[in-house]
Symmetry: C2
Amino acid sequence: MDGPTEGGTPGAARERFRAGLREPTAGWCPGYAQANLVALPRDQAFDFMLFAQRNPKPCPVLDVTDPGAPGTQMAPGADLRTDLPAYRVWEHGRCVAETADVTRHWRDDLVAFLIGCSFTFERALIAAGVPVRHVEQGRNVAMFITSQMCRPAGIFSGPLVVTMRPVPPDRVATAVQVTARYPAMHGAPVHVGNPAALGIGDLSRPDFGDPVAAEDDDVPVFWACGVTPQVALARARPPFAITHAPGHMFITDVSDTAYAI
Amino acid sequence: MDGPTEGGTPGAARERFRAGLREPTAGWCPGYAQANLVALPRDQAFDFMLFAQRNPKPCPVLDVTDPGAPGTQMAPGADLRTDLPAYRVWEHGRCVAETADVTRHWRDDLVAFLIGCSFTFERALIAAGVPVRHVEQGRNVAMFITSQMCRPAGIFSGPLVVTMRPVPPDRVATAVQVTARYPAMHGAPVHVGNPAALGIGDLSRPDFGDPVAAEDDDVPVFWACGVTPQVALARARPPFAITHAPGHMFITDVSDTAYAI
């Protein structure tokens, strides 16, 4: 992973993505909030917003655009159609394209939702002495579809998706305390220690992202994940949608500390 | 005010309101969350939800019903059409009726929003040694329309409405700390000390609720208020809406501590 280190600004990162670089954003721009993207036609946007309201752990809404508007106050001047490293285009619940630019797919009736991302609290984890293995290993985070169901809303329903981070046993409590301070970035873990209880069979085979190697007696810790809406999209089959590609987030200009309580 | 004291359950309170008692709910059922009500046709519900998302201080959404459904998981068995002490019925932005029962006004396309209410944190204020003057005086809280504008969303826009509580100077810091723990109930104050800075001319003439007498050198402290949507409704003029009457809240079965962080 050759992402910017401390010196990289969000604007510079977005410029590289706009120019075509496709890379997961884990570890990029430490200190800045990252966000999931879900863009839906206005007709389906109400049901989706209701789904988010009823499932705030996986779907903490940070900003919602006016229909058709490709900008956000979280990064003035940025373009949501070009400034993420990779997108997915959905038709009737099927991912029909994965691309670095969705300008030609954008529609005037699209409402874009920006949803908190757990990459945002990784700087704080590292600062608190909690190693973040996928960043150390230069990989995307590992994501898993669980057997735990979200509260349905209108056309949307589906299982909770989680990120998994292996954490040394003596750092688990710190990891809980640190991430609990970021409720808008999925907050405290939903589960610690037993993948089977979440219906996860094999930690080396994530549903999204990369497998991440645990060290020694690391404990698997699970946080709600902003890919949850993508699984709900696949089930709801709205006529059209655009999302980020898992792990390929929108990097905002907002400081991570703005979301710490 | 003859509201239930510590012994009154939310269910018993709702039963009295259902039977016709019309009284502000300040000081009722200490220990239980209270909520503002806004019910709108589905056609306007998306814009309203967006307004709430963009203005989380005055409009923290606790629950949203499916269209037409008059129940909520915050109080199983309760009926949102009868169980509040008083309602307002709105047509094209005008309040056309204030009534204790909206069963005959309810529509199958109404989406009901329950929004956090600052009455919820008053038990914690009192427990922390912060006197709550309007409860002491047996009155509704004083509410004021400010000169501070909300972020608009779709058809909705308008000024922030606030509640005001006079607080002894040596308790202001405690009042801030205690209420900051309840972000879903409007959280920390938006302003301390200078009504004129909020465009409020005369604290003895509230726009809603009752005037509340300050004692000695009490400082006026202002919290965002769930009546904000009613002022936005009056401006947006949607064809139809139902709200609670200011200060006449829905008392839920949920413990106030469930919303403390």
